[in-house]
Symmetry: C2
Subunit: 264 residues, 2 copies
DNA sequence: CGTTGGGTTGAGCTTGTTCAACCACCGTGG
DNA sequence: CCACGGTGGTTGAACAAGCTCAACCCAACG
């Protein structure tokens, strides 16, 4: 099953929320026509942007700029000076911690609407943030973003909620990695992925794998070979079907979720 | 090495910060002499209480009450209706997630000054909170605590910082459990413990184990036998010495920390 | 003084890792 | 157009890390 990143990604993008192409133009103070992309941004309804009406949204938007990354490009790197933080608009980012000897733990997958690159220690990023699909994101200037939060209590609230959710997800993740067997881990991972996909309006049947085996293995604390074997185990138990491209059909979501100890 | 919970705990308590015994009395509005224990509380300087001057501290204190728990008693249980949240004053609490089949993952050890029991979903606690030493804590009424936070932006700030720290610790923990070998995990655990102890003014030489092997195993995602073997491995490498009670001398903190991949 | 709870150790087993071969797919350059 | 190498995935065989089961020890306690 040799799937290129390109084809994997093409399938995924095909079903993600449509990108804003021609947002309505608005007139700025200086009389120049300038569209505010937020008006049609699919991530507008998520966390920090959610409570913002037009003026404040515009204010926030001007603290940063939108950029794009190709798969395998880094949005930020551990150890480098902490620059902007990112709100993902489309695509998926893997946030990971690398050990000196090359081992890596993926800490979280960041989906559209979520924020990453926020953690900094001694003025440096602590984790790597790598695009695993094509990614668009708003990159916000860190100190101005924080100042904005302090001026806007409702945004601070949204930020606190976001932190809480992140915390819950990592705790879940820890329990999975600490307690489950390889097959259970993969089962819970796939259930989680399916839930995340449906929440973000991606298609779930089939479910297009956003990442390669080695990413899954770094997420679950296993080796790629073990992931591969776990896949075939799930296939033989008729819980999933593996397409010849890299998409998956979950035949029995309930049993799959139960096998993963309902951690999704 | 049969160490009773009593002796383990006695040793630990011996060196923890002294408890307030007779805080200065103050006069309340109604003219009754009433001491505010916070004035001498060793956890006063930590997170939510830190920014509070006398009046607000008193206000917060009156949202709850102080209680004590013996080792192996639960402050809160997953699935039961979400009651108060707790700020630990002395002792250590293990917060854990249990799987239906009895497997358990300890999510965090909560030290004095820290808060636990905060997470709730659908009005229920999500985790178990178990005292592993004698514990004193302030139990705060949940909704009134949240209201208090909303009235006091500086406290909200402290709460956000606390969340951030918790998040970092869990991510660290996940990386340890996901990537390190059993001996490495124990090494990093002991380094972490030593750092936490010295931060809280507990003695570090010798370092008194606050918990039994089975707790350590549930923290690190291993079995008690593996923990035991890892201990003897570290001992044979002369990184630590095991006393016949359950205290540990870290002979070579630097090498120990390095063996744990400097995750402390 | 027997019982209980916690810790250690050994022997054998299971799970997951390592190493290697192999395949399918894709992009590149004769 | 085909030969080629590179990437990603699967599978097998040998191996090792960690788990299971059991025996045993020690200290505390009734």
């Amino acid at each position: 099953m040799g799937v290129s990143a390109a084809s994997r990604v093409a399938l995924l993008v095909l079903h993600s929320a449509p990108q804003p192409l021609r947002p309505p133009s608005v007139i700025t103070g200086r009389g120049i026509a300038k569209p505010l992309p937020c008006l049609t941004c699919p991530a507008k309804a998520k966390n920090v942007c959610k409570p913002l009406e037009y003026d404040r949204q515009k204010e926030l938007f001007q603290l940063g700029h939108q950029s794009k990354w190709e798969p395998r490009q880094f949005l930020f790197r551990a150890g480098s000076p902490a620059g902007p933080l990112f709100k993902i608009i489309s695509g998926i980012v893997a946030v990971s911690k690398g050990l000196p000897d090359g081992r890596r733990q993926i800490i979280a997958l960041v989906f559209p609407g979520d924020i990453c690159g926020y953690t900094q220690i001694n003025g440096q990023y602590v984790y790597d943030g790598e695009a695993i699909t094509p990614v668009t994101a708003c990159a916000f200037d860190r100190s101005r973003f924080n100042a904005f939060i302090h001026r806007n209590p409702d945004v601070a609230d949204a930020m606190a909620t976001l932190l809480q959710e992140k915390l819950e997800r990592v705790r879940q993740h820890l329990t999975i990695v600490g307690q489950l067997t390889s097959t259970e881990r993969l089962a819970s991972f796939l259930s989680m992925l399916a839930r995340a996909y449906s929440e973000h309006g991606f298609q779930v049947r089939p479910l297009v794998m956003p990442m390669k085996r080695s990413d899954v293995s770094e997420y679950l604390g296993l080796r790629t070979e073990t992931i591969s074997r776990a896949f075939t185990k799930l296939r033989k138990q008729r819980l999933i079907e593996l397409d010849d491209d890299d998409s998956i059909i979950i035949c029995d979501p309930i049993r799959l979720s139960r096998l993963g100890n309902a951690m999704d």
